[in-house]
Subunit: 197 residues, 2 copies
DNA sequence: AGTGAAAATCTCTCAGT
DNA sequence: ACTGAGAGATTTTCACT
């Protein structure tokens, strides 16, 4: 799978701000022809970078229910099914997974009866504990962050993903793709320090 | 401002699943002509129901930074400026406001140095306290929930918005547009109870 | 608010580089 | 991967209901 170039990111940004913008419009900005833009967008869709063309809707005006943030603690074995159950629930709009395997869901509960909705939704699911926070607002600021690109592991040179770690060593910040690369780098660094002192 | 009808909701649903769908396509499904659909969409945009046509992007593939959930506690006086500062920050994608005036932000921190990013971002802002949770996943499930419609205040008949409250009185759940309607309804209810006992 | 038809614009296809 | 041009589809405009 070929990597993204700056033109792809520019196209993504333009479509983020207006997904109905004509290809010809984009083509002019990124200095290509309309079919070339169309091809790139098709490729971005195939790669799964673009999941879909959609709307940013102000649901508060649709009066769809009481907005809540639901924090769910669940045993690791049951994590996947619970996550899927929640994502399938009509009321759930966002689901965040924490590093400690907790689930955070933003939902709009129809009818305002949060306890009833919860027992309906999580009924057959073995949830250890949950907590509900009432929300008064939710906002979304889509942006691609055009200046931000892939990070490179200081030890092995691979691309740093969400699994990666950052560490400040000798006053400088280094990126690593995994903790073992971090350890290797630190050992190497300490050896260098000793040798030059 | 005219209320939404079922055709509007149908158009919203169709555009949520594919925002580039031709008007003619939608027109056929909702039994209108293309210009009529175009007019309705324009009206939905003017009303602010449709904020924008956009993309659902799989940001995990863009390797854009370390995903975190930031919980910020801030004095009521400083709430608005802090909220705006955070929303303006490139890294912040979502901001949820709790009923207790806490802020919850989903952000992807570039470079992975979360403490540095925080001190940069919230530098001149008087934040009482904050907490950072590392996330490993974030998902979005766009859907309109076609069966869900506006709620009506049991006291005054107005539409219940996010500001509204729900209350279980005498075993039944009632919706109110505001606390004062709730109080009026309860008093009326109690008087009826006394009269019939 | 919606229709119908014409004009303008956009997208798709495909042969060629 | 991209271009350029032509065919086909879509959107916009506008007079009318």
């Amino acid at each position: 799978m070929r990597d993204l170039d700056e033109t792809d990111l520019e196209i993504l940004e333009l479509l983020m701000s207006d997904a109905r913008r004509p290809w010809s419009d984009i083509a002019e900005i990124v200095d290509l022809t309309p079919p070339a833009v169309s091809d790139r967008v098709a490729r971005l869709q195939e790669m799964g970078i673009i999941r879909r063309f959609t709307l940013d809707v102000d649901r508060s005006q649709l009066r769809e229910g009481v907005p809540v943030l639901l924090t769910v603690t669940v045993h690791a074995d049951r994590f996947e099914p619970v996550r899927e159950t929640l994502l399938d629930a009509e009321a759930v709009e966002y689901a965040f997974t924490t590093a400690e395997n907790d689930l955070l869901c933003y939902a709009r509960v129809p009818g305002g009866d949060v306890p009833a909705w919860l027992s309906e939704t999580l009924n057959k699911e073995s949830v250890d504990d949950y907590d509900v926070t009432l929300l008064t607002g939710a906002e979304w600021t889509p942006s691609i962050g055009g200046t931000e690109f892939a990070l490179t592991c200081a030890e092995c040179g691979n691309t740093v993903t969400s699994e990666g770690v950052a560490s400040r060593i000798g006053g400088d910040l280094y990126q690593f793709c995994c903790p073992s690369c971090e350890t290797s780098f630190e050992e190497q660094y300490d050896r260098l320090e000793e040798a030059t002192s």
